[in-house]
């Protein structure tokens, strides 16, 4: 099934409903479909190959996603925040291609071999040009929908392949067609080159929910836009939510229209989600866990799970606030031990997943095994009621004397210390234990001693989880989607020692 069909269905069912954009200048489903078609025909005539998108979030992003689908071209959004040399190298890898580039970014990418550059404003004009609107659409049968360069922390980014059938399957199995009411609007603040941005476009079109785009995230702009646009739904990565909450609090802003807030793309510190639920008691919170290679969400911790967990005095139930909920009913999920056997309940292993939305493919190479399973490279475990707890990337999990230690768990505890602004926990090689726990801390409001911090962890967790190596720094390395780059610190501290 093709993703362009999702828009076609929406445009036929609710042609006049607003699909994307601000209340004052929104674009209807019928108009979005017409633009996508005209824009696709125009792009298709400019050159062969992939359609690349280099730009901030705007109505042009979903238009380009559907325009590419209309003419059967893969859509490849690139990370415009990369350094020029890296961005140009990635762009070169998409050739032959036609690239839609924000007007003020054109100078950064011109002159790459095999890439035809058009400005975003030229694309937008082409989408409303009557000549393109009247043009016959070529018949196409190409099934790569999206190429996403995964934000690797080491080496060259890999191009993840998502085919139309994976994305369409994800949408129709998780979203009820046109179930949104006309007032619903979702604020998209993840960048267009993030899987959540692609999924947000497709699911919102199918649900009938207007998408509003934040060109670039800042907590102030997010709050302003959410209030002005009467936003009802939004997805944030945990670091974004952590920055939004103090602004809401300082302004006394209650966001009365906001109904649902979802988060994902990284571990949510318990202190942040608890604060958010206190501050926004009427909002439904959902935690979505997924990967680029799985067409977004594969497990969800829903609003009822959140409320049950936070209200419970049973620590077993309460800790589910830190889980990613249960796997989607449309797919299978297993935890496997290193020897391939299924992990018992409560035992950590690698998360495997199988289902129609699972792409598990990089350009030139599928990594789905013969039985259809995809290894996520995430470590996790399941409790007795099927709630999934993700501990982080397998490479990040610390194995100390045979015990698996989740860096996120130790970080969460340290973040609640009054003199800790930020912290990264990771493993360093150790002769006696295999690995030992190390922490790099950004201090605030004074200088905590390492003895203080060690005591803080020991009191709340246990001594085996207490960092043995400490370092203080002014800031920590993050990638542009807010993921902490533990590996960078691990390499630096390993090198220092050697």
């Amino acid at each position: 099934m093709h993703t362009s069909l999702l828009l076609e269905m929406a445009a036929e069912t609710f042609p006049d409903r607003l699909a994307v954009g601000h209340l004052s200048e929104g674009v209807s489903y019928a108009e979005l479909a017409a633009r996508a078609r005209a824009g696709g025909v125009w792009l298709g005539g400019l050159g062969e190959g992939t359609i690349v998108f280099v730009g901030q979030n705007s109505v042009a992003a979903p238009t380009a996603i559907f325009a590419s689908a209309e003419v059967g071209r893969p859509f490849a959004p690139l990370n415009y925040r990369l350094a020029d040399a890296d961005l140009r190298r990635l762009l070169g890898r998409t050739a032959p291609s036609v690239a839609i580039v924000d007007d003020d970014m054109v100078h950064r990418v011109s002159g790459v071999d095999g890439v035809v550059i058009v400005t975003r404003s030229a694309f937008e004009a082409a989408c409303v040009d009557p000549v393109n609107r009247a043009a016959e659409k070529p018949v196409v049968d190409v099934d790569i929908a999206v190429l996403l360069f995964t934000s690797g922390t080491t080496g060259e980014p890999k191009a993840a392949v998502l085919r139309h059938r994976h994305l369409a399957s994800y949408v129709i199995s998780t979203v009820e067609f046109m179930h949104a009411d006309e007032e619903e609007a979702a604020l998209v603040s993840v960048p267009p080159y993030h899987i959540a941005g692609i999924a947000a476009t497709l699911t919102a079109v199918y649900a009938g929910r207007r998408n509003v785009f934040l060109p670039a995230f800042s907590p102030e702009a997010w709050v302003d836009t959410a209030a002005a646009e009467k936003v009802t739904h939004a997805m944030l990565v945990p670091t974004m939510l952590g920055r939004v909450l103090p602004i809401l609090q300082a302004r006394g802003e209650k966001l009365p229209h906001l109904r649902a807030l979802s988060y994902g793309g990284g571990r949510m510190p318990a202190s942040v989600i608890e604060h958010a639920m206190r501050l926004l008691p009427n909002v439904d919170f959902a935690n979505g866990y997924g990967l680029t290679e799985t067409s977004s969400t594969i497990a969800v911790l829903g609003p009822e799970d959140h409320r049950a967990a936070i209200q419970s005095s049973d620590p077993h139930v309460r800790r589910r606030l830190g889980s990613v909920g249960k796997p989607l009913p449309s797919l299978e999920l297993e935890i496997r031990m290193p020897d391939g056997a299924l992990a018992p309940i409560g035992t950590s292993g690698e998360v495997y997943v199988r289902g129609e939305q699972i792409a598990g493919e990089y350009l030139g190479k599928s990594v789905i095994d013969g039985d259809g399973w995809f290894a996520t490279n995430d470590a996790g475990w399941m409790d007795d009621e099927g709630y999934l707890f993700v501990e982080g990337r397998l490479d990040d999990v610390i194995v100390r004397g045979g015990e698996n230690i989740s860096p996120g768990e130790v970080e969460d505890v340290l973040r609640t210390h009054p003199h800790v602004a930020d912290v990264a926990v990771f493993g360093l090689p150790d002769d006696q234990w295999g690995e030992k726990v190390a922490a790099v801390v950004v201090a605030k409001d004074g200088a905590p001693t390492t003895a203080d911090l060690a005591e803080w962890v020991k009191a709340k967790l246990r001594s085996t989880k207490t960092p043995e190596t400490w370092e203080f720094r002014g800031e920590l390395p993050y990638n542009d989607t807010g993921k902490l780059l533990r590996r960078v610190l691990k390499q630096e501290l390993s090198a220092n020692k050697a």
């Binding site: 269905m9 036929e12 129709i172 739904h233 997805m235 959902a286 829903g302």
Partner: protein, 102 residues
């Protein structure tokens, strides 16, 4: 008829259109309103159009399944004729609502 995943079919007797989400394990003939469906974009046979809606009439965005063969189709255009496979009526697939997570 070969019902490949993603293939699109149109009713001969009404406006209904469906896309195959999951093909039947062993072939079969998909019908709408008692008449075999035709490939989308193809010519429709000369049969009488349905005047009144049957029960259940296909609704856009709903999925319909045949438990015996595993066939699942998504209705992409509403119509009046009920869907069937080899004479067995397709059942509406009840979807569990999931919270928005993107």
């Amino acid at each position: 008829m070969e019902m490949k995943p993603g293939s699109r079919w149109a009713s001969a007797v009404c406006d209904a259109e469906v896309v195959v989400v999951r093909p039947p394990k062993s072939g079969g003939d998909l019908a709408c309103g008692g008449h075999a469906v035709v490939a989308h974009g193809g010519a429709k046979p000369d049969v009488a159009r349905l005047d009144t809606a049957q029960d259940p009439a296909p609704l856009v965005g709903k999925r319909y399944v045949d438990a015996d063969s595993g066939l699942e189709v998504l209705c992409v255009k509403a119509g009046k004729g009920a869907l069937s496979l080899d004479g067995r009526p397709l059942a509406l697939k009840e979807a569990k609502a999931l919270p928005a997570s993107d």
